[in-house]
Subunit: 169 residues, 2 copies
């Protein structure tokens, strides 16, 4: 037995993005208790030369969507980067999960040897097989941006723990 | 075609842990330029109720080792938590990668349906299949602790970028 490309990608991304939305809920509740505008989270950065919170959430969702579009040979749906609230970000994440669920597992399975080409803003495009794309680019990137979102909320005082990060059984 | 349990686990963990050691090298160089004791990193925390840097590195390596021991049906090698330097942590990571490489891929392949039981410090043990253990527990946990290590170093001013996080081609 082995693992299918779909089971090694979409459910992991959907789970982490679903978990992320529960962190946003707790961040909203924290802001209400402390009586500050929850939009204040969006500009937080761990370092002045890192992307802010709003970008971490956007990119986490964008990479999950892009990865499933590439692996499922579907068109990548671009979203405007115009959210100004936690709820707007949560909606982007929900739309991303719905997009991923719209891609049939059968379209993704068998993609492990397919060539995946990823254009870069500068320089040559990156070339992968489906498997190396998932394992060296998509998985690390989705975990990077979801975990950075979590780190920013923890640093901001939101009460989150490992169980929130990992999600339910 | 499909993905094997070994290719979906050991190379991803080894790659992230190898990347982590390059972050430690840059952290050491940063400390030398700034003339502070690099052991100062070990106590850094993003929040006072989060584990410190030293624990993030230890646990990233421990979970990768535990995961491959479980999936490869091998004994989990426990390491003493006694590192007091970056170099000590780098050595723990190198030993972990060597342990993972010592486990034959054939022992891991076919583990997707095997029952994996994970005792908990308090409460009932967690039950997984090999596949759900990898995808819901091992991968997220290794990425959590490696990314938290990266976040702490970025927050501390070490010059790292996404290319350092993802590693070479």
């Amino acid at each position: 037995m082995t693992v299918s490309m779909h089971s090694a990608s979409a459910p992991i991304f959907a789970r982490m993005l679903g978990n992320l939305n529960t962190w946003l809920d707790k961040a909203q509740a924290h802001a209400e208790v402390k009586k500050f505008d929850s939009a204040n989270y969006l500009a937080l950065r761990l370092a002045p030369d890192m992307l802010p919170f709003v970008s971490q959430v956007r990119i986490a969702s964008d990479i999950a969507r892009l990865a499933m579009a590439k692996l499922g040979d579907a068109e990548y749906p671009r979203y405007a980067d115009d959210e100004t609230t936690l709820e707007g970000l949560a909606e982007r994440v929900r739309k991303t999960v719905a997009f991923m669920q719209s891609i049939d597992a059968a379209r993704v399975d068998g993609s492990e040897a397919r060539e995946i080409v990823l254009p870069q803003r500068t320089g040559d495009p990156l070339h992968f097989t489906g498997e190396s794309f998932l394992q060296r680019w998509a998985l690390p990137n989705v975990f990077f941006h979801t975990t950075m979102t979590y780190a920013l909320l923890r640093h901001a005082g939101v009460e989150l723990g490992k169980a929130d990060y990992l999600g339910g059984p």
